[in-house]
Symmetry: C2
Subunit: 523 residues, 2 copies
């Protein structure tokens, strides 16, 4: 694979000086145009040590406008980073729309090292899958993703290291670790071949660049980057002048949900027994029991460094807030955070739609409660047409992948759909209108959403069908009776945490009574 | 001080139920009005353990709209937090404008604990100064700052703990640590008295609230909070309908800079020897020497966990970018970050103007380079009138305090003003116009700024006069000759780091030659 990158191509100083001005000008012009688009440019640099990644990045920084370009390198994860899913820090480092990000090694670093040092094949393959999937998400969201592998042959690398080591100004660049890697050159190249083979996709291609001569490498990368950006700009400008592609209509036509969309088939929600209720006295007992249980489980999870993420979605007025408050009352407030999902800020709008949820992932051992969530993409954004059909259809896979990363990291993830009947919602709206301190809760939007009840019901059905997994299940909560709903939520949260950390230590652990078994059946 | 909070005031369930609806409604209405203003509401809760801070916060969360309110508690600092100046995490936790933040203990927690456990008086006083100053900054920026001290007598605390410990649902709330604190009750109350005495200012008052009865405490705090917010809203609405206060004009009149402002007195910039140059050969040697030195110092600082912050300000086209690049070339890119200061994002605009710089403070041992900085407040914002006179005048003290926190944390801080003569700037503008890949660097704004040269010169003079301290000095760089300027910057950075971490270990350390001494004289 790398034979073509060991040809000894060079650029003389004179050639370099002759070519830089026009390249630089073209790159700047392209950069200026990118600024006014809605896509980011993600440029990745990989390659063996000493192959000149730094030189190329340095040149690009010199040629282009640093205000709209960020360079990111990644050290060993800090404690705060290590306590979150591995990709958390990469999400934080992504350039916003209209900007260019130069990322060194990034998500390739660990898989390459692990594999070169004998890590198991299966783990390596899994890591590559994860990378391909992650990059696809970025590309699907419109990002330009382009990757440069800087290559040096084994002898070339040796020569480079020796030359650097002799120069007092550059000796620091060569460490014992570099020589260790050099001795494992064959292993690195083997892993690199596999990496490039697996992750070089149409949308996110690798370019192998000969690294012997930094001038040559910089010019070559600069030229390829320019070409890539210009190609995208042309597409972008074309797309913004032509009509929407007819493909979308066809897609909608072929939709499997056509029948559902016309309200003719029953949804998963239709099967719920909405008459379930709980007496006030029973409620009080169960509330105290499960709050105590939840509190002890929180402590236990904290000690075991197991985090919990709870997602609340549901109809307007279904009692999300009330259920969250009953949980909060039992939790030590230092270890819990409620994240209300409002309209994105401009920093958030300038990123992939999952970015604003990634940023809220907590350190180990905490509870994070999302009051509405990333499911907005396949609910309100789908129904209101804020997301294109292509976007929300893609979102199921993106969400599953995101949640998989979360659960793979050992986090407990439970998702609640708080369900109401139409009649009950109407009654609650009227009640809100009449209660002065609840009036703020009822907006014009709530009434509008209500009109689209059928569309939402289809969206919920699809969502549950496509994103309820064993490790990240949807719990459908029959919420016509608030008391019943709150206990079902509390009990489900407790069970999920308990399944992960074991029953609470203290003597007051409630026995798993018959009531619990009954409710489980009702889910 | 606390006698008035041991009167046993209570609210019965009936009273509570009767009063909550109207209070709740009024709080919601006030909250809704706050949303449309440009100030945040910072609510602090202090007090002994078990005095019911949690109950009150819980009630407020229930009464108000959680979408525009955040509750923050603070655990022991994480590694990432501990590596930054102590207030970094508090800055991150401040509510944006239009929102309400409920902060538990926050910056009071550590001073109170330290003092109660016998920490030295002087340290305690220093901490209180710091708090008063920090809160003043927030208030000056328009924040409503209101603080509630929840109080319980020693017996009341004991009773509360015993009652909680007996209840299986609440036993977790009482820890061994709580009893330790209880045994030191007198020490805590002594420290608390001093805290309240010192930090209860007109703008940021403490209210002492009797904590025996959670219902009473919640109603009382709710009422005081409402009153505070409403008073501010009234002021705010008045201010937005009346003319600007004449006090400003008087302030300008009385300005000490009146003479300077008319360009009649020489500024600190006039004293610089702008003819200083460096030959290309000497430059190359010095560049290599200092780059090597800087690199070794970076490594040494990294090992000693000493961070460095470099600030670059200067005339347009003065060569900030070039100087930064020459430094970057010598630095290991994993340990350095360049932060370009552009227009604030909306998340940044919704905070105190220093917030967006606080967020970029690095972990220990790193180098952070600010390309323009918080000095924008007293430069462009002053000259262009983006900040009011009151705001920019206040900024000197705010900046000094900020930089003091930075240097107290052991961070090396150096600030550069890159100076040009008017003639040289004009020549560079013309050169930029004629060089295709430099043209982007020259904007309409640069020409406009040039027209206000005299105003900027006064602003720079004031800035240097008021913010150049021994531990955070301004270095004025004679930048008519780019080569001379780059070496002066490099050399100054090296000297500053070296003064903190000692000379570099390696054998290649350059001798402190005569040239260096000469340049030092030229500063």
């Amino acid at each position: 694979m790398f034979e073509t990158a060991e040809l000894g191509r060079k650029a003389t100083k004179r050639e370099y000086k002759a070519r830089v001005p026009s390249l630089r000008q073209a790159l700047l012009a392209a950069q200026e145009r990118v600024r006014h688009t809605d896509f980011p440019v993600v440029v990745l640099f990989g390659g063996v040590d000493g192959a000149g990644k730094g030189d190329v990045v340095h040149a690009l920084n010199e040629w282009m406008d640093p205000r709209w370009m960020v360079t990111r390198t990644f050290e060993r994860p800090s404690q705060d980073e290590a306590e979150r899913p591995a990709y958390w820090r990469f999400w934080q480092a992504l350039p916003p729309k209209g900007q260019i990000g130069l990322l060194l090694s990034a998500w390739y670093s660990r898989p390459l090292l692990r594999r070169a040092y004998g890590g198991p094949e299966a783990e390596f393959e899994e890591a590559l899958e994860e990378i391909a999937d992650f990059e696809k998400q970025l590309a699907d969201d419109g990002a330009v993703v382009v990757k440069f592998w800087l290559h040096l042959g084994k002898q070339g690398q040796e020569k480079r290291f020796k030359r650097l080591a002799k120069d007092p100004l550059h000796a620091w660049r060569v460490t014992e670790r570099d020589w260790d890697h050099w001795r494992k050159y064959e292993d690195f190249v083997g892993a690199a071949e596999r990496i490039i083979g697996r992750t070089s996709t149409g949308d996110c291609p690798w370019h192998i660049v000969e690294g012997v001569c930094p001038r040559y490498a910089s010019l070559h990368v600069g030229g390829l980057l320019l070409e890539t950006i210009e190609r995208r700009l042309a597409e972008h400008e074309e797309a913004h002048t032509s009509l929407p592609a007819p493909a979308h209509a066809a897609l909608a036509e072929a939709s499997l949900d056509a029948e559902l969309a016309h309200g003719r088939a029953p949804t998963v929600l239709a099967k719920l027994d909405m008459t379930q209720r709980l007496e006030k006295n029973a409620y009080r007992t169960l509330l105290a029991t499960h709050q105590g249980r939840l509190n002890r489980l929180q402590l236990q999870a904290r000690n075991q460094k197991v985090s919990t993420i709870l997602v609340f979605e549901g109809w307007d007025a279904a009692g999300k807030g009330g259920a969250i408050r009953r949980m909060n009352a039992a939790l030590d407030s230092r270890g819990v955070r409620v994240v209300p999902t409002a309209a994105p800020s401009d920093e958030e709008s300038a990123q992939h739609y999952l970015w604003r949820f990634w940023r809220h992932l907590s350190r180990a051992g905490r509870v994070t409660i999302f009051d509405r969530s990333w499911y907005g993409r396949v609910l309100v954004e789908r129904v209101e047409g804020f997301a294109s059909e292509k976007e929300w259809r893609r979102a199921y896979a993106e969400i599953n992948r995101f949640e998989q990363q979360v659960t793979n990291h050992g986090i407990v993830l439970v998702k609640f759909w708080m369900h109401l009947t139409r009649e009950e919602q109407l009654a609650r709206f009227h009640e809100r209108e009449q209660t002065p301190w609840k009036r703020w809760k009822l907006t014009e939007e709530d009434w509008r959403n209500r009109e689209r009840w059928d569309d939402y019901e289809v969206a919920v059905h699809d969502m549950v069908e496509r994103t309820s997994t064993r490790r990240a299940p949807w719990i459908l909560v029959e919420a016509n009776d608030k008391l019943f709903a709150r206990i079902k939520v509390l009990e489900s949260v407790c069970s999920a945490i308990e399944a992960r950390v074991g029953p609470p230590d203290e003597p007051h652990a409630p026995s798993k009574d018959a009531r619990k078994e009954k409710k489980r059946g009702a889910r």
